[in-house]
């Protein structure tokens, strides 16, 4: 775009793909930056789930970019139009970069509702159909710093035909062109960036075509859509990402949608992804679980973390969760199911466990509360359970991204992978 200031400065590229750097020039005045690989702040209508600003700001080093989704905003369009000052101010968010995506990565989006000219989003009061005109009118009222272009992302299901996939790539490119046309003629969007969307389902040639064509447009970065957890296994996802990123310019960021599990994040970082959405800690919170995986890379720290009972115990119990995960084909991976990276604090064994969720964790939850208390809040259905878990899970997840960057900087991604995946680091066969 004419006014594009967003700039990706890479400091290191590992094995030709894994990228370490800083995304600079973010925000209206360009004063914000975001380290990559990194994640955005996941929100419901600008609010990190369960958290007020007070509780959110017990967390240090929050990502400078807040993600809001059009699916939640669309039903408030009239309100925002009357408000006039954009969504950021409406939501009481003062000092953050605002990114507006199309769908909520944590909410399933029913398929079968796109046409050549429209896509549908699902808000709290049901389906709303968007044309490019409506989509762009929304962007003008939301006034984000950057937004995802309108896209037909319905081809993530593994039964999508080649014809359907081709159509989705064509439609998405057409939507992008239309969006860009409106964008360029809208003064109020002058300093706003657009991310083009790469589609193509699980068909390599379509992925490559989508990437190549999108890269020709004046976009600031790329959303990799239709690769979310549950749509395909990691081997295929890695293969597609590698093929796609080959077609994309080095100096523009790649945001992967719908992938949040730490093991998948690591694999995708290695394949060349820069940005992730942080909806994973929210999913973990909603099932009453706490993230509890090791991500130390310096040998001392790693030993310290590993020696803590929390992590040793995790490894024991991880077997069950992990086996469930790796049981059979991964295609129908259920996002509501507990993963290897968390503990279920509702389990009776935590009833009289007076340790923090994660020993040594510096978050408000771990510094102030014990597993026994969280267990009690969960079994009594108290609202504070969600608050405390969301604080911890967010802190833990963001800590993991810090570790990913550190590992890339020190060339220790393998060490990190072993730590995150446990003793069998990276092995995929079952051990029974």
């Amino acid at each position: 775009m004419a006014g594009s200031r967003m700039k990706l400065e890479l400091t290191r590229v590992v094995q030709g793909r894994g990228r370490l750097g800083v995304l600079k020039g973010l925000g209206k005045t360009g004063q914000h930056s975001l380290e990559v690989p990194g994640c955005l702040l996941y929100t419901h209508l600008g609010t990190v789930p369960h958290l007020t600003q007070d509780t959110l700001h017990t967390l240090s080093k929050l990502p400078s970019v807040t993600q809001v989704t059009l699916s939640q905003i669309v039903e408030h369009q009239e309100v925002l139009e009357e408000f006039k000052d954009g969504f950021r101010k409406f939501a009481g968010l003062h000092d953050t970069v605002l990114y507006c995506s199309l769908h909520d990565p944590a909410a399933p989006c029913p398929t079968g509702y796109t046409t050549n000219k429209t896509v549908s989003v699902w808000g709290s009061s049901g389906r709303i159909e968007l044309t490019v005109a409506k989509f762009m009118a929304l962007q003008k009222t939301v006034q984000p710093d950057w937004y995802q272009s309108m896209a037909d992302g319905e081809t993530w299901q593994n039964n999508a035909s080649r014809k359907r996939v081709r159509k989705s790539v064509d439609r998405t490119l057409a939507h992008l062109d239309e969006c860009l046309l409106v964008h360029q003629n809208s003064q109020e969007l002058e300093a706003v960036e657009v991310f083009g969307v790469v589609e193509g389902g699980d068909i390599l040639e379509e992925r490559v075509r989508s990437a190549r064509e999108t890269a020709k447009r004046p976009v600031a970065g790329f959303c990799l859509d239709g690769l979310q957890t549950g749509s395909m296994d990691q081997a295929l996802r890695t293969q597609l990402i590698i093929a796609v990123t080959k077609e994309l310019p080095e100096d523009k960021p790649r945001l992967l949608q719908g992938v949040g599990r730490p093991d998948e994040v690591l694999a995708c970082v290695e394949a060349g992804v820069d940005l992730f959405e942080s909806f994973f800690p929210f999913l973990v919170t909603e099932r009453g679980c706490a993230l509890c995986f090791s991500f130390g890379i310096s040998p001392d720290l790693e030993r310290a973390v590993r020696a803590s009972p929390a992590v040793l115990e995790l490894n024991e119990e991880g077997d069950t969760a992990r086996d469930t995960q790796l049981n059979g084909d991964l295609i129908l991976d259920d996002q509501t199911q507990m993963t290897y990276f968390e503990i279920n604090l509702k389990e009776k064994r935590y009833q009289d466990d007076f340790r923090p969720v994660v020993e040594g964790c510096g978050c408000y939850c771990c510094k102030n509360h014990q597993r026994a208390y969280l267990h009690h809040l969960l079994v009594t259905n108290e609202l504070l359970a969600g608050v405390l878990l969301m604080i911890h899970n967010t802190a833990h997840y963001h800590g993991f991204f810090v570790a990913v960057r550190e590992a890339l900087a020190k060339d220790k991604l393998d060490v990190l992978k072993r730590g995150v995946l446990g003793e069998r680091g990276g092995q995929t066969e079952r051990k029974d």
Partner: protein, 422 residues
């Protein structure tokens, strides 16, 4: 830990508003009750007083509203947020906590303070009220309240000894005696029986308290809506050496005319140097009137419960944030409110957020607690500055659109303490 300066004496502060009083300035309490009441000021017109109540976990300014944290948590609010609102005391419910997670576990966690990591004071009820209101199959005998656990169906007896034993495990700063609770609208011999039984149970509770040097036990005045029964109960209970008194058996759907008369009768006969706690009262008008009638402490689930339904408390009543009329209202809930919610968010945003996230409830909960605590601080300030009568006039004018909408019971109650509403 109880520090040394929580001495077992009552100091009646000398102040310019103090009415003539015949009470001794210092009066020995029970062996070492960890409570000191310093009367900072007394209203010269009404029976209102402003005090500092020194408890093991810090000083509580009265009149005070105590938010209710039923299950060891205040509905989505962290203990730091609660402290940030300058809350000095909150409630826990013995019945709920005794059931889950159980008193043994809480004892292991260093009491309820340790379990929920709350550094200020805690008050626990006796569990009796919930038993009668929540549990259908309960039976009251001289021994105690017998009921079936709703969790495992086991028969449980909550005796005065058992209630105190649980409250000792919880380690609250103020414990409540087990009383025989009957509906406030009940009449006849059952009310009298319950009153007498509550006196006998008070004696058993006093005898059962293992930590009289760390935990205060309050008596609960019963007697329904019958003045003679109330008076008998007051005569008997005030002879007991307890550090404080609660006025119980009210706020249960009785006529407000009966309610305030029982309150004022009680404060007329309660000793000046001990705190008076009016149980279950939390509407703003009730609070202001009952402060004028001489009550110091109040609790109610209303402000926090109503918050979760989107009802925000404001000086002119309440505001239903979920109502459509606020969808495009870009002001804060109360432009004069200094709470974190009002300083950051508009009615319109909260209205929208209610459809998307539980944090909307937390925002209103915080606002409502702030409203209650601020109201009580303003009340105290006005008593200290000798302008409580003027405060009441202003408060009522703001709360009601016109004079003829003032509830008659409030007009009468205030008239009884020399306030004629303008």
């Amino acid at each position: 830990m109880v520090s040394r300066n929580m001495a077992a004496c009552v100091e009646c502060g000398v102040d310019r508003n103090a009415a003539v009083n015949n009470m001794p300035v210092k009066k020995a309490l029970s062996a070492a009750a960890p409570l000191t009441l310093r009367i900072v000021a007394e209203c010269t017109v009404t029976k209102a007083r402003a005090c500092d109540l020194l408890l093991p976990h810090g000083t509580v300014s009265t009149p005070v509203f105590m938010p209710v944290g039923t299950q060891g948590t205040l509905k989505g609010i962290t203990v730091d947020q609660l402290e940030g609102l300058a809350c000095q005391i909150c409630l826990g419910n013995t019945y709920h906590l005794g059931m889950r997670p159980g008193s043994d576990l809480i004892e292991k966690a260093n009491g309820l303070h340790g379990f929920m990591n709350w550094k200020k004071n805690l008050l626990t009820d006796s569990g009796g009220f919930q038993m009668v209101s929540l549990v259908e199959l309960s039976e009251v005998t001289e021994e105690g309240v017998k009921f079936k656990s709703p969790y495992d169906g086991k028969e449980i007896l909550l005796s005065p000894e058992k209630s105190i034993s649980i409250q000792n495990s919880l380690g609250s700063d103020i414990m409540m005696q087990l009383d025989d609770v009957v509906s406030s609208t009940m009449t006849g011999p059952r009310v009298e029986e319950a009153m007498h039984r509550s006196i006998r149970w008070l004696d058993r509770c006093i005898a059962a308290n293992k930590n009289p040097d760390k935990q205060n036990l309050f008596a609960i005045i019963q007697g329904g809506l019958n003045a003679d029964l109330r008076k008998t109960c007051l005569d008997e209970m005030t002879q007991r050496d307890v550090p404080g008194f609660a006025i119980g058996g009210l706020s249960g759907g009785e006529e407000k005319d009966d309610f305030w008369r029982m309150v004022t009768l009680s404060t007329d006969h309660l000793p000046r140097e001990k705190p008076r706690y009016l149980m279950g009262v939390g509407y703003a008008v009730d609070l202001v009137v009952c402060v004028a009638l001489g009550c110091d402490m109040f609790d109610c689930v209303f402000p926090t419960r109503t918050a979760r339904f989107g009802s925000a408390l404001v000086p002119w009543g309440s505001l239903q944030v979920k109502h459509k009329q606020y969808a495009k209202d870009f002001q804060p809930i109360d432009p004069d409110c200094q709470c974190p919610t009002c300083k950051r968010h508009s009615r319109a945003y909260l209205h929208a957020l209610f459809k998307s996230d539980t944090a909307a409830m937390h925002h209103i909960t915080i606002h409502n607690i702030a409203y209650q605590l601020t109201l009580m601080r303003s009340v105290k300030q006005s008593i200290v500055e000798g302008r409580f009568p003027e405060f009441i006039q202003m408060f009522m004018r703001r709360m009601f659109p016109s004079r003829d909408q003032y509830p008659s019971w409030a007009v009468d109650a205030l008239a009884s303490v020399n306030i004629t509403l303008e």
